[in-house]
Protein backbone atom coordinates (compact mmCIF):
# COMPACT_ATOMS: atom_id res chain seq x y z
CA UNK A 1 0.00 0.00 0.00
CA UNK A 2 2.67 2.41 1.10
CA UNK A 3 4.89 1.35 -1.78
CA UNK A 4 2.16 2.04 -4.30
CA UNK A 5 1.50 5.49 -2.86
CA UNK A 6 5.20 6.35 -2.93
CA UNK A 7 5.51 5.25 -6.55
CA UNK A 8 2.42 7.25 -7.47
CA UNK A 9 3.76 10.38 -5.80
CA UNK A 10 7.11 9.98 -7.57
CA UNK A 11 5.32 9.51 -10.88
CA UNK A 12 3.22 12.62 -10.26
CA UNK A 13 6.39 14.58 -9.57
CA UNK A 14 7.84 13.27 -12.82
CA UNK A 15 4.77 14.44 -14.73
CA UNK A 16 5.03 17.88 -13.14
CA UNK A 17 8.72 18.23 -13.87
CA UNK A 18 8.88 16.88 -17.42
CA UNK A 19 6.14 18.81 -19.20
CA UNK A 20 6.31 16.54 -22.26
CA UNK A 21 3.42 14.15 -22.55
CA UNK A 22 4.24 11.55 -25.17
CA UNK A 23 3.53 7.87 -24.46
CA UNK A 24 7.19 6.84 -24.57
CA UNK A 25 8.40 9.51 -22.17
CA UNK A 26 5.53 8.94 -19.76
CA UNK A 27 6.44 5.25 -19.93
CA UNK A 28 10.03 6.12 -18.98
CA UNK A 29 8.70 8.07 -16.03
CA UNK A 30 6.56 5.18 -14.84
CA UNK A 31 9.43 2.70 -15.14
CA UNK A 32 11.82 5.09 -13.39
CA UNK A 33 9.52 5.67 -10.43
CA UNK A 34 8.82 1.96 -10.04
CA UNK A 35 12.53 1.11 -10.19
CA UNK A 36 13.33 3.85 -7.67
CA UNK A 37 10.78 2.51 -5.21
CA UNK A 38 11.96 -1.07 -5.77
CA UNK A 39 15.59 -0.16 -5.16
CA UNK A 40 14.63 1.80 -2.08
CA UNK A 41 12.72 -1.22 -0.83
CA UNK A 42 15.69 -3.48 -1.47
CA UNK A 43 18.06 -1.16 0.37
CA UNK A 44 15.73 -1.31 3.34
CA UNK A 45 16.89 2.04 4.66
CA UNK A 46 13.47 3.56 5.31
CA UNK A 47 13.02 3.84 9.06
CA UNK A 48 9.34 2.94 8.90
CA UNK A 49 8.35 5.96 10.94
CA UNK A 50 4.90 7.21 10.24
CA UNK A 51 4.29 10.91 10.52
CA UNK A 52 0.62 11.46 11.12
CA UNK A 53 -0.45 14.44 9.03
CA UNK A 54 -3.31 15.18 11.36
CA UNK A 55 -3.66 18.87 10.70
CA UNK A 56 -6.82 20.53 9.63
CA UNK A 57 -5.86 22.03 6.27
CA UNK A 58 -8.05 25.14 6.53
CA UNK A 59 -6.62 26.17 9.87
CA UNK A 60 -3.15 25.39 8.60
CA UNK A 61 -3.63 27.73 5.64
CA UNK A 62 -4.87 30.41 8.00
CA UNK A 63 -1.81 29.89 10.15
CA UNK A 64 0.44 30.19 7.07
CA UNK A 65 -1.15 33.51 6.21
CA UNK A 66 -0.61 34.78 9.74
CA UNK A 67 2.99 33.51 9.63
CA UNK A 68 3.65 35.43 6.40
CA UNK A 69 2.57 38.66 8.07
CA UNK A 70 4.81 37.90 11.04
CA UNK A 71 7.74 37.16 8.72
CA UNK A 72 7.18 40.48 6.95
CA UNK A 73 7.06 42.38 10.25
CA UNK A 74 10.17 40.83 11.69
CA UNK A 75 11.99 41.17 8.36
CA UNK A 76 11.43 44.90 8.50
CA UNK A 77 12.54 45.00 12.14
CA UNK A 78 15.80 43.16 11.48
CA UNK A 79 16.40 45.22 8.32
CA UNK A 80 16.18 48.32 10.48
CA UNK A 81 18.66 46.79 12.91
CA UNK A 82 21.09 46.03 10.11
CA UNK A 83 20.88 49.37 8.36
CA UNK A 84 21.01 51.79 11.28
CA UNK A 85 24.41 53.25 11.98
CA UNK A 86 24.71 51.98 15.52
CA UNK A 87 23.24 48.49 15.35
CA UNK A 88 20.98 48.09 18.40
CA UNK A 89 21.90 44.49 19.16
CA UNK A 90 20.66 42.97 22.39
CA UNK A 91 21.33 39.27 22.15
CA UNK A 92 19.72 36.81 24.47
CA UNK A 93 19.21 33.08 24.75
CA UNK A 94 16.06 32.07 26.55
CA UNK A 95 13.64 29.20 26.99
CA UNK A 96 10.28 29.05 25.28
CA UNK A 97 7.82 26.40 26.45
CA UNK A 98 6.33 24.34 23.62
CA UNK A 99 2.82 23.24 24.46
CA UNK A 100 2.21 21.20 21.26
CA UNK A 101 1.52 17.52 21.65
CA UNK A 102 2.46 15.96 18.32
CA UNK A 103 6.02 16.01 17.03
CA UNK A 104 4.88 17.48 13.74
CA UNK A 105 3.38 20.50 15.46
CA UNK A 106 6.56 20.97 17.47
CA UNK A 107 8.57 20.92 14.26
CA UNK A 108 6.22 23.48 12.73
CA UNK A 109 6.58 25.69 15.79
CA UNK A 110 10.38 25.45 15.84
CA UNK A 111 10.64 26.14 12.12
CA UNK A 112 8.24 29.08 12.42
CA UNK A 113 10.44 30.57 15.13
CA UNK A 114 13.48 30.21 12.91
CA UNK A 115 11.65 31.49 9.82
CA UNK A 116 10.84 34.81 11.43
CA UNK A 117 14.15 36.67 11.29
CA UNK A 118 15.40 37.83 14.66
CA UNK A 119 14.64 34.60 16.51
CA UNK A 120 16.24 31.20 16.00
CA UNK A 121 15.56 27.88 17.65
CA UNK A 122 18.93 26.69 18.85
CA UNK A 123 18.19 23.59 20.88
CA UNK A 124 15.12 21.45 21.48
CA UNK A 125 14.35 19.73 24.71
CA UNK A 126 11.35 17.70 25.81
CA UNK A 127 9.02 20.62 26.54
CA UNK A 128 11.23 23.61 25.90
CA UNK A 129 12.98 25.29 23.02
CA UNK A 130 16.10 27.36 23.45
CA UNK A 131 15.58 30.47 21.36
CA UNK A 132 18.25 32.97 20.44
CA UNK A 133 17.13 36.53 19.70
CA UNK A 134 19.27 39.25 18.20
CA UNK A 135 17.44 42.28 19.51
CA UNK A 136 15.62 40.91 22.53
CA UNK A 137 12.82 42.74 24.27
CA UNK A 138 10.62 41.57 27.11
CA UNK A 139 7.64 41.33 24.73
CA UNK A 140 9.29 38.47 22.87
CA UNK A 141 8.20 35.96 25.51
CA UNK A 142 4.56 36.88 24.97
CA UNK A 143 4.85 36.98 21.17
CA UNK A 144 6.39 33.51 21.01
CA UNK A 145 3.85 32.11 23.47
CA UNK A 146 1.14 33.49 21.19
CA UNK A 147 2.74 31.79 18.19
CA UNK A 148 2.93 28.53 20.13
CA UNK A 149 -0.73 28.72 20.99
CA UNK A 150 -1.58 29.30 17.34
CA UNK A 151 0.39 26.23 16.31
CA UNK A 152 -1.33 24.20 19.03
CA UNK A 153 -4.67 25.37 17.64
CA UNK A 154 -4.11 23.72 14.26
CA UNK A 155 -3.61 20.34 15.87
CA UNK A 156 -6.66 18.06 15.97
CA UNK A 157 -8.53 18.60 19.21
CA UNK A 158 -6.42 21.66 19.94
CA UNK A 159 -7.99 24.70 21.53
CA UNK A 160 -9.51 26.57 18.62
Amino acid sequence: MRVVVTALILFLLWLLMSGIYKPMIIGFGAVASIVAVYVGQRMDRADGDRVALLLSPLKFLGYLGWLMIEIAKSNIAVTRTILTQKMPIRQNLFRVPSCQRSELAQVIFANSITLTPGTITVETEENDFWVHAVSFSEDDHEALADMGARVAAIEPGGAA
Partner: protein, 119 residues
Amino acid sequence: MTLLVDILSWILIVGGSFFTVVGAIGTVRFPDFWSRLHAVSVADSGGMLLLIAGMCLQGGFTLVTVKLILIGIFLFITGPTATHAVANAALVTGLRPRVARDIEAVELPPYSDVPDPRG
Protein backbone atom coordinates in the same frame (compact mmCIF):
# COMPACT_ATOMS: atom_id res chain seq x y z
CA MET B 1 -4.76 42.98 -16.01
CA THR B 2 -1.25 42.27 -17.29
CA LEU B 3 -0.27 45.76 -16.16
CA LEU B 4 -1.50 44.97 -12.66
CA VAL B 5 0.44 41.69 -12.61
CA ASP B 6 3.54 43.47 -13.89
CA ILE B 7 3.34 46.16 -11.23
CA LEU B 8 2.80 43.57 -8.51
CA SER B 9 5.72 41.43 -9.61
CA TRP B 10 7.88 44.57 -9.89
CA ILE B 11 7.11 45.38 -6.28
CA LEU B 12 7.75 41.80 -5.15
CA ILE B 13 11.01 41.42 -7.02
CA VAL B 14 12.37 44.81 -5.96
CA GLY B 15 11.44 44.00 -2.37
CA GLY B 16 13.04 40.58 -2.62
CA SER B 17 16.24 42.03 -4.07
CA PHE B 18 16.29 44.62 -1.29
CA PHE B 19 15.96 42.03 1.47
CA THR B 20 18.58 39.78 -0.15
CA VAL B 21 21.10 42.61 -0.26
CA VAL B 22 20.23 43.71 3.28
CA GLY B 23 20.77 40.17 4.55
CA ALA B 24 24.15 40.02 2.82
CA ILE B 25 25.12 43.41 4.27
CA GLY B 26 24.12 42.09 7.66
CA THR B 27 26.39 39.06 7.31
CA VAL B 28 29.28 41.45 6.79
CA ARG B 29 28.36 44.12 9.35
CA PHE B 30 27.20 42.07 12.33
CA PRO B 31 29.87 41.52 14.96
CA ASP B 32 29.63 37.80 15.76
CA PHE B 33 28.35 34.47 14.53
CA TRP B 34 25.12 34.47 16.51
CA SER B 35 23.91 37.77 15.12
CA ARG B 36 24.95 36.80 11.59
CA LEU B 37 22.54 33.88 11.78
CA HIS B 38 19.71 36.37 11.88
CA ALA B 39 21.05 38.40 8.98
CA VAL B 40 21.18 35.28 6.84
CA SER B 41 17.64 34.42 7.75
CA VAL B 42 16.46 37.79 6.43
CA ALA B 43 17.82 36.89 3.00
CA ASP B 44 16.65 33.30 3.24
CA SER B 45 13.05 33.88 4.27
CA GLY B 46 12.01 37.38 3.21
CA GLY B 47 14.17 37.78 0.13
CA MET B 48 13.61 34.24 -1.11
CA LEU B 49 9.82 34.31 -0.65
CA LEU B 50 9.39 37.68 -2.36
CA LEU B 51 11.66 36.82 -5.30
CA ILE B 52 9.96 33.46 -5.88
CA ALA B 53 6.52 35.07 -5.65
CA GLY B 54 7.53 37.75 -8.15
CA MET B 55 8.89 35.18 -10.58
CA CYS B 56 5.70 33.10 -10.17
CA LEU B 57 3.61 36.10 -11.21
CA GLN B 58 5.79 36.56 -14.28
CA GLY B 59 5.60 32.86 -15.13
CA GLY B 60 1.81 32.75 -15.32
CA PHE B 61 -0.11 29.48 -15.37
CA THR B 62 2.68 27.24 -16.66
CA LEU B 63 4.91 24.41 -15.49
CA VAL B 64 7.53 27.05 -14.74
CA THR B 65 5.34 28.36 -11.95
CA VAL B 66 4.80 24.85 -10.63
CA LYS B 67 8.56 24.32 -10.46
CA LEU B 68 9.06 27.69 -8.82
CA ILE B 69 6.45 26.82 -6.21
CA LEU B 70 8.18 23.49 -5.60
CA ILE B 71 11.49 25.28 -5.12
CA GLY B 72 9.79 27.79 -2.85
CA ILE B 73 8.20 25.11 -0.66
CA PHE B 74 11.46 23.22 -0.46
CA LEU B 75 13.47 26.27 0.53
CA PHE B 76 10.71 27.31 2.93
CA ILE B 77 11.12 24.03 4.80
CA THR B 78 14.87 23.44 4.50
CA GLY B 79 16.04 27.03 5.05
CA PRO B 80 15.12 27.19 8.74
CA THR B 81 16.16 23.56 9.21
CA ALA B 82 19.65 24.30 7.91
CA THR B 83 19.90 27.46 10.01
CA HIS B 84 18.83 25.50 13.07
CA ALA B 85 21.38 22.79 12.28
CA VAL B 86 24.19 25.35 12.03
CA ALA B 87 23.15 27.08 15.26
CA ASN B 88 22.74 23.79 17.09
CA ALA B 89 26.11 22.46 15.93
CA ALA B 90 27.75 25.70 17.05
CA LEU B 91 26.09 25.52 20.47
CA VAL B 92 26.90 21.85 20.97
CA THR B 93 30.54 22.29 20.05
CA GLY B 94 30.96 25.07 22.57
CA LEU B 95 30.48 28.35 20.73
CA ARG B 96 28.57 30.32 23.37
CA PRO B 97 26.37 33.26 22.45
CA ARG B 98 27.25 36.54 24.08
CA VAL B 99 24.27 37.77 26.07
CA ALA B 100 23.64 41.48 26.38
CA ARG B 101 25.03 43.05 29.54
CA ASP B 102 21.73 44.07 31.06
CA ILE B 103 20.21 40.59 30.79
CA GLU B 104 20.97 37.85 33.25
CA ALA B 105 22.30 34.89 31.29
CA VAL B 106 20.46 31.60 31.72
CA GLU B 107 22.33 28.44 32.43
CA LEU B 108 23.23 26.44 29.37
CA PRO B 109 23.32 22.70 29.06
CA PRO B 110 26.87 21.42 29.50
CA TYR B 111 28.14 20.57 26.04
CA SER B 112 31.43 21.11 24.28
CA ASP B 113 32.71 17.66 23.50
CA VAL B 114 34.56 18.92 20.45
CA PRO B 115 37.28 21.50 21.01
CA ASP B 116 38.15 24.51 18.90
CA PRO B 117 35.20 25.63 16.77
CA ARG B 118 37.63 27.61 14.61
CA GLY B 119 38.14 24.51 12.46
